[in-house]
């Protein structure tokens, strides 16, 4: 017994040593837990080494503009909600509570859409900044491709910020993807944001091609159009005029002479439109606005807007639809007509078109006291609509004519009417009497409550909320 125990004890250290050796040998291979990437993902660095992957990263942003952004054509996009917020649309469906809040100008800081528009915009801005940073750092792209990518990205960065400060007033201008920095970012003054937007658009102009292309991606002229609008909204009449007139003079985008063609996919006056998710799919706008039963299942055009159309305005017959229940008639925006898929896509959501550019040129000219030039651009649109040209008038009456023309030309498109009333300072004057809840402070939306909670540096909340 003794002998046995002795031997056993002696062997223990040796066995332990061997075991340890075994374990150390195996444990040494720590990279056992290294794994390959999943097949549906690419590392960030790799994306920017390749032309087609950068292109795909940009494609995703355009697709998201269509699917999840303030510019989408659904019932939670700006075209629909800001139509109710101003005086374009009346709500008939009481169950659409979120729409009701906009319709009654009773939007809270906790509002879903207020939150989503903010969140979706900044989410896409992150993607845009990643592209700018990635393309800048990439050493394997051709110069021409690099310029196009950067140009599109700067354009998109300007676009998102443009709508953000129009909607929310002071907003942070986000120009990097660094989340540590962006998580306690502060709001920038409007002039600063505007200046950055203009800078980005100027940069985009330098980088983008002047060729027309398929109109599904922004080019030089698209940047020009947005720049014209940004200057106009900010009251920079000369700059607005220059850009708009440049674009008209370029001649590459003539007005569609038949109003029935303006919203077709091959309309010559379209500067930029969003491609569908797959061939044959048409716009969300048609699905959102068009109805076939009375009373309207959701919303209809406000009778005042309907009344604002002059007699024989071709736009009324071409762009407004109606339903009659035997007694009453209800009207709806009928710019986009295809509610169902077609063999080939025939209508795309148009984000920038010459109709607006003519109106920018007209207004800027009139503001600069070039009344006859202004009248020329205004009448170009009127005659396209089959209306008699305006003979003339003083500055104020012509500005009123521009406002009227904008109302009937641009209705139900991305909230033009609301932004017009806001920038001209006429919102309270026009909407106050119409809408019981309207308050002066309603010209901007509240900063989403949840965002203020997450980043108190965004405070204080906008007045009135």
């Amino acid at each position: 017994m003794k002998l046995r125990n002795l031997k056993k004890v002696k062997s223990i250290p040796q066995i332990c040593t061997k075991c340890l050796l075994l374990i150390v040998l195996l444990w040494g291979c720590e990279d056992f837990v290294e794994v390959d990437l999943p097949n549906n993902q690419l590392t960030g660095g790799l994306v920017f080494q390749n032309l087609s992957t950068v292109d795909a990263a940009l494609a995703n942003i355009y697709a998201e503009l269509r699917e999840e952004s303030p510019l989408k054509g659904n019932i939670d996009g700006m075209s629909y909600l800001l139509g109710h917020y101003a005086d374009e649309l009346d709500l008939y469906n009481p169950n659409l509570l979120n729409v009701g809040h906009f319709y009654e100008n009773n939007v809270l800081a906790t509002d879903t859409n207020v939150g989503n528009w903010w969140t979706d915009s900044y989410t896409l801005l992150y993607a845009v900044n990643r592209i700018i940073e990635g393309v800048m750092a990439s050493d394997s792209l051709l110069d021409a491709d690099r310029d196009r990518f950067l140009g599109e990205a700067y354009f998109l960065r300007a676009l998102f910020h443009f709508y953000l400060y129009q909607l929310y007033g002071k907003v942070p201008f986000v120009d990097s993807s660094d989340y540590a920095r962006n998580s306690n970012i502060q709001r920038d003054e409007i002039p600063y944001v505007h200046q950055r937007v203009v800078e980005d658009l100027e940069r985009a102009k330098e980088l983008l091609s002047i060729e027309t292309g398929d109109r599904l991606r922004p080019n030089y002229w698209v940047a020009v159009a947005l720049l014209a609008r940004a200057h106009l909204y900010q009251g920079e009449w000369e700059l607005a005029e220059t850009e708009a007139v440049d674009l008209i003079a370029h001649g590459g985008y003539p007005l569609a002479m038949d109003v029935g063609e303006v919203f077709l996919g091959d309309s010559p006056e379209t500067l930029w439109q969003l491609g569908p998710i797959s061939q044959g799919i048409n716009t969300r706008e048609a699905f959102t606005f068009v109805f076939e039963t009375a009373p309207p299942p959701n919303s209809a055009l406000s009778p005042m807007l309907v009344a604002d159309f002059e007699e024989n305005d071709a736009r009324f017959s071409a762009w407004v639809g109606s339903v009659n229940d035997g007694g009453d008639t209800w009207y709806y925006p009928y710019k986009y007509k295809e509610t169902a898929p077609t063999a080939q896509t025939v209508e795309y959501s148009i984000l920038l078109r010459m109709g607006e550019v003519y109106l920018i040129a007209a207004e800027a000219s009139i503001r600069l006291d070039k009344l006859s030039e202004g009248l020329y651009y205004l009448n170009a649109l009127r005659s396209r609509a089959g209306l008699a040209p305006l003979a003339g008038g003083n500055k104020n009456s012509l500005l009123a004519a521009v406002e009227h023309e904008r109302r009937v030309e641009l209705f139900s498109e991305q909230g033009h009417r609301f932004f017009d009333l806001k920038r001209t300072g006429r919102a309270t004057e026009v909407l106050g009497p119409l809408k019981g809840n309207w308050e002066q402070t309603d010209v901007i939306l509240p900063i989403p409550e949840s965002e203020l909670l997450l980043n108190p540096d965004l405070g204080p909340q906008n007045d009135g909320y």
Binding site: R4, K7, S11, Q14, I15, K18, C19, L21, L22, I23, L26, C29, E30, F32, V33, E34, V35, D36, L37, P38, N39, N40, Q41, L42, T43, T53, A56, A59, N60, A63, E64, E67, N95, L108, T110, W118, T119, Y122, T123, Y126, A127, V174, S177, Y179, N182, S183, D214, L216, L274, G275, I277, S278, Q279, P341, S450, E451, L453, L454, N455, P456
Partner: protein
């Protein structure tokens, strides 16, 4: 894969190297002292030979098993002690005392603790000597229940384990929580499953878009594919002592599933055949046509609408006002049939045992239409040990496959809300009746189907070699493979014409998923004895790899609906997901167990883990636990002073385990391809904000327990108190949107605490030769609390959780009354702003987690009759019928209780006035009501979960053919005040639990 083979190769090499060096040094031979062959025979008290008795030379690993005739042969020194043990018999220690032949008689064990051996995963431990919290449910209890999911077998049987089924639909999943919710993330609370030593991932391979609508909780869980009757035992590891050896995956407990093994004995053929009938256990008490019509008319009168509008088809004369259909009966009132046939062949000698078995299970549904769930499974295992008992080998393979065929949408909501005078389902020609498009025929949903086909293979091999008498090396090798194929069709015919005829509106979703995983675990166990102290040392390693692949597609617009399942016939095809993921896992683990005289036991466990789910700097982490037990009944003063105390043990444990259920690749900065397309380019989007530095969730568990056996173990009492604190919570830290994302994965300094008491009581009430009666009770009082959460207010969890409250709370409005003047609900305006709105006015907290739960089993045996009665109970609150938000007065049928509504000014009632959908105020108030405290009420229940009567017609020993007849019932009776369909499922839009009665026989040849 290259890497893998490299490592496996290296492992072999190093093993070989070590073995060789051991042999060369000559010590292996020298260490084994010269020993004699000892042989003998084991019999029971009546002198009949006992086969399969475990015989071990004390304090060594050397052992054997007695053969069919009870004989055995073992190498032992003249001074050694042989220990004989077998389940159901009292263990016996017999000194060899120089003899060459030892005759042993073993007594049947009448105590309950007996020699219960628990599987603790990497090691085994006896019930008496365990230091950790391990609960066991064995085949006897599992087999008594006509169930198809292994988790169902555990319901109510184990303290601290809360299990409920998600739906009564065949193939639906179960939810399980062991000792409460630890993780703030809802999806991070699954336990770790190990089947025969092989980690088993239960995350679904299904595609949401294909299956979510019918099966609550997603597609078929891989666990569901396992056949419960193949299971020998399920052990649940709960405390730190038991789970720490599973390290980073043990935080939510570990479920060990062990399949049946062959036993020593004559070759035996067994058939188990049962069939049964099932129906939903409850339906709602709904209005009949006359009551319904009266309600609708009153609603229009209340809203001042006259005449009845054109779209009120139910009462304006469009539909027959005299028709009455019990839609619950029609849509989900069918009888489900259950058939289960099992055959097995087993047997073996002392050296080699085998078992093969096959099982077929079929269950039809209670839903209208022909739907069923079929399962086919096969199992084989082989055990072998060499003549000199040095080499042992086990091989087992378990294959199961299931086919499920279901409608695309559940019909319970339709069944409980269709107006009773709604039209016929079919027209005269047998087609779906649309009644001139005045209703949505519920059968429209049956036009589409959901079908899934899943299979699962678990293979396991274990090889062990005893180098020295107390030193064994072994290796466990496992492989699993799971496949799932799903299709969900949505043909245009589910719409009324004209859409119904337009096959452009037809679509189908396909999903194909596959998972393979392997595990390799070399292990070294050494069990020396020094004086009166036994040591058990275990050292092992784990290498694990898993690959998941899934392709989901959507196909739409077909030339004809008959080709809807053919992707080639679709006009549009799009990929929903194409995913391939890899997971790698590596660990070293160890255990040191000290047992001094069977009185003082110390158990130390530890594990170092590495997982590919974490970034390079956070890949490895350590976990460990200490457990101690004092068997005070073995102390002289107790044994002498308290003779009625047959067993007493105090135990305590403390330690850490972790949770890595975060998903793969989360630490990487990547771009993903989604389904978003722009001008024929598929979009590539940044997947996440990346943080390479997040790490495991860690869970500190503390437990104190007392186990007592009284009156010769006729009464056994277990009490345990636990406190688990889960911190370093792995959550998405909320970020403002300006960062581009709503969160970044990181460890949040939040702490969730689960505390609770678990009580168990087992008594043998009567024990005589002809009659035995025993009772088991288990009871759990859990408590969950969010202890800390920095910046909760600013986080996305702000509306969900409150510090100091359980994670199971929900915030609701406070219903005050029905205003006697207006007849509408009124709620407390907490912030006093004049309107009832979300957040500020949802101030009432309701805790939906159970207050206590448990089970009570009575087992009675009288001669050849045996009766088992098992009750399960839970005390809890739950969402009731009102939470559905169906407005009294709307064009939907209602429970009769709404008739206690407000009618005239001054009425003091609980239900608001009948109103139509055009009354916005009533509708708003009704919606608020469905989110108020009135929609949450007592959902406690006592359920007769299982009743089993059996009669042993003959036994194999006496008649050469054993025949057992049995009658079993599941969910036979539910005692509850719950206002809804089923207090266990707590959803009023899915099929409640089924009540099954089955009849069967077990034949043994």
């Amino acid at each position: 894969m290259k890497k893998l083979s490299f490592y496996v190769g290296k492992l072999h090499l190093s093993l070989l190297f070590n073995l060789l060096s051991l042999l060369i040094s000559g010590q292996l031979m020298a260490l084994v002292p010269i020993q004699a062959n000892v042989s003998g025979k084991v019999t029971d008290t009546q002198g009949l030979p006992l086969a399969g008795v475990n015989i071990v030379v004390e304090s060594t690993n050397r052992g054997t098993i007695s053969d069919l005739d009870g004989t055995f042969r073992i190498q032992a020194g003249p001074a050694d002690v042989l220990v004989f043990s077998m389940v159901g018999f009292t263990s016996l220690a017999v000194p060899v005392a120089g003899l060459q032949e030892v005759m042993v008689q073993m007594e049947e064990d009448v105590t309950q603790l007996g020699e219960v051996v628990l599987n603790a995963g990497y090691y085994k431990v006896s019930e008496r000597e365990r230091t950790g919290s391990i609960a066991k449910v064995s085949a006897v209890d599992i087999e008594r229940q006509p169930i198809s999911n292994p988790l169902a077998a555990l319901q109510g049987r184990v303290a601290g384990v809360d299990i409920h089924q998600n739906s009564g639909i065949a193939g639906a999943n179960f939810s399980i929580q062991i000792r409460g919710r630890n993780s703030i993330r809802r999806e991070g609370n699954e336990p770790l499953y190990i089947v025969d030593g092989v980690p088993f991932s239960t995350s679904s391979l299904g595609e949401q878009q294909a299956s979510a609508s019918i099966l609550p909780g997603g597609a078929v869980s891989p666990l569901n594919i396992l056949n419960p009757t193949d299971i020998e035992s399920i052990e649940i590891l709960k405390d730190a002592d038991a789970t720490a050896i599973y390290g980073s995956r043990g935080a939510n407990g570990v479920v060990l599933i062990t399949t049946k093994k062959g036993k020593v004995g004559h070759t035996q053929v067994q058939f188990n055949i049962l069939s049964g009938l099932g129906q939903v256990n409850n339906t709602l008490d709904l209005m009949g046509t006359s009551e319904y019509v009266a309600m609708r008319r009153e609603a229009f009168a209340n809203d001042g609408i006259d005449p009845i509008p054109a779209n009120a088809y139910d009462i304006n004369g469009t539909w027959d006002l005299d028709r009455e259909t019990d839609w619950q009966k029609v849509l989900f009132g069918k009888t489900a049939y259950l058939t289960n046939i099992q055959g097995s062949l087993s047997g073996g000698s002392a050296q080699t045992q085998f078992l093969v078995s096959g099982n077929y299970h079929r269950q039809t549904n209670v839903l209208i239409g022909d739907y069923h769930n079929d399962k086919l499974s096969a199992m084989a295992n082989l055990n072998h040990r060499s003549d000199n008992d040095r080499l042992s080998f086990q091989l087992s393979a378990n294959f199961s496959s299931t086919r499920n065929n279901l409608p695309a949408v559940d019909l319970v909501l339709a069944g409980t809300s269709l107006p009773p005078n709604a039209p016929e389902l079919y027209d005269e020609d047998g087609n779906i009746n649309w009644e001139n498009r005045t209703w949505l025929n519920p059968l429209a949903n049956l036009e589409g189907t959901y079908r899934s086909k899943a299979s699962n293979l678990v293979g396991n091999a274990r090889m062990g070699y005893r180098l020295l008498e107390d030193l064994e090396v072994s290796a466990n090798l496992g492989y699993t493979e799971t496949h799932i194929k799903e299709i969900n069709t949505l043909p245009s015919t589910r719409y009324a014409p004209p859409f119904g005829d337009n096959t452009n509106f037809s679509s189908a979703r396909h999903n194909l998923g596959q998972r393979t995983s392997w595990v390799l675990e070399p292990q070294l166990s050494w069990s020396p004895k020094l004086g009166d102290t036994r040591f058990n040392v275990l050292l092992g390693m784990t290498f694990q790899g898993q690959e998941d692949a899934r392709v989901s597609e959507s196909a739409s617009a077909f030339a004809t609906n008959s080709l809807i399942e053919n992707r080639a016939a679709a006009s549009f095809l799009s990929i929903i997901a194409d995913i391939y993921e890899e997971y790698r896992y590596q660990a070293v683990y160890s255990r040191l167990n000290l047992n001094h005289k069977g009185k003082y036991i110390l158990n130390l466990t530890g594990r170092r883990d590495g997982s590919s789910r974490f970034g390079p700097s956070k890949r490895f982490s350590n976990f460990g636990a200490v457990g101690a037990a004092w068997v005070f009944s073995n102390e002289h003063f107790v044994a002498n002073g308290l003779p009625w105390l047959s067993f007493g043990k105090l135990r305590a444990s403390y330690g850490t385990s972790g949770n890595d259920q975060i998903g793969n690749y989360q630490y990487l900065d990547t771009y993903s391809f989604g389904s978003n397309q722009y001008n024929n380019v598929v979009g590539l989007y940044p997947t996440r904000l990346f943080n390479p530095d997040f790490s495991w969730e860690s869970n500190k568990k503390l437990e104190f327990a007392l186990d007592l056996g009284l009156f010769n173990d006729r009464v056994i009492l277990n009490g345990a108190h636990y406190r688990n604190r889960s911190s370093n919570q792995l959550v998405g830290i909320p970020l403002p949107a300006t960062t581009g994302f709503s969160s970044v994965n990181a460890n949040l300094d939040a702490t969730v605490e689960n505390t609770g008491w678990e009580l168990g009581l087992h008594t043998i009430n009567v024990r005589s030769d002809t009659f035995q009666w025993s009772t088991s009770l288990n009871l759990t009082f859990p408590k969950n609390k969010l202890v800390a959460f920095p910046d909760l207010e600013g986080s996305t969890y702000a509306n969900q959780y409150v510090i100091g409250q359980p994670l199971g709370i929900t915030k609701v409005y406070q219903m005050e009354r029905v205003n006697p003047e207006t007849g509408l609900y009124e709620f407390t305006d907490f912030n006093g702003d004049g309107s009832i709105s979300s957040l500020e006015d949802k101030q009432v907290l309701r805790d939906l987690s159970p207050k206590y739960y448990g089970g009570l089993t009575n087992n009675l045996v009288y001669r050849k009759f045996s009766l088992d009665i098992f009750f399960q109970f839970t005390k809890q609150l739950g969402y009731n019928l009102w939470a559905r938000g169906i407005m009294p007065g709307d064009m939907l049928n209602q429970p009769r209780e709404v008739q206690q509504r407000w009618q005239t000014i001054g009425d003091q009632v609980d239900v608001q006035r009948y109103a139509t959908s055009s009354s916005q105020e009533a509708r708003t108030d009704n919606t608020l009501h469905s989110q108020s405290d009135a929609a949450i009420s007592d959902a406690s229940f006592i359920r007769l979960r299982n009743l089993s009567i059996s009669y042993q017609l003959s036994t194999k020993q006496d008649n050469r053919v054993g025949c057992l007849l049995f009658l079993r019932g599941q969910n036979l009776l539910t005692i509850t005040r719950y206002n809804g369909l089923d207090p266990e499922i707590l959803s009023n839009s899915t099929v409640p639990a089924l009540r099954f009665i089955t009849l069967g026989t077990q034949l043994t040849f």
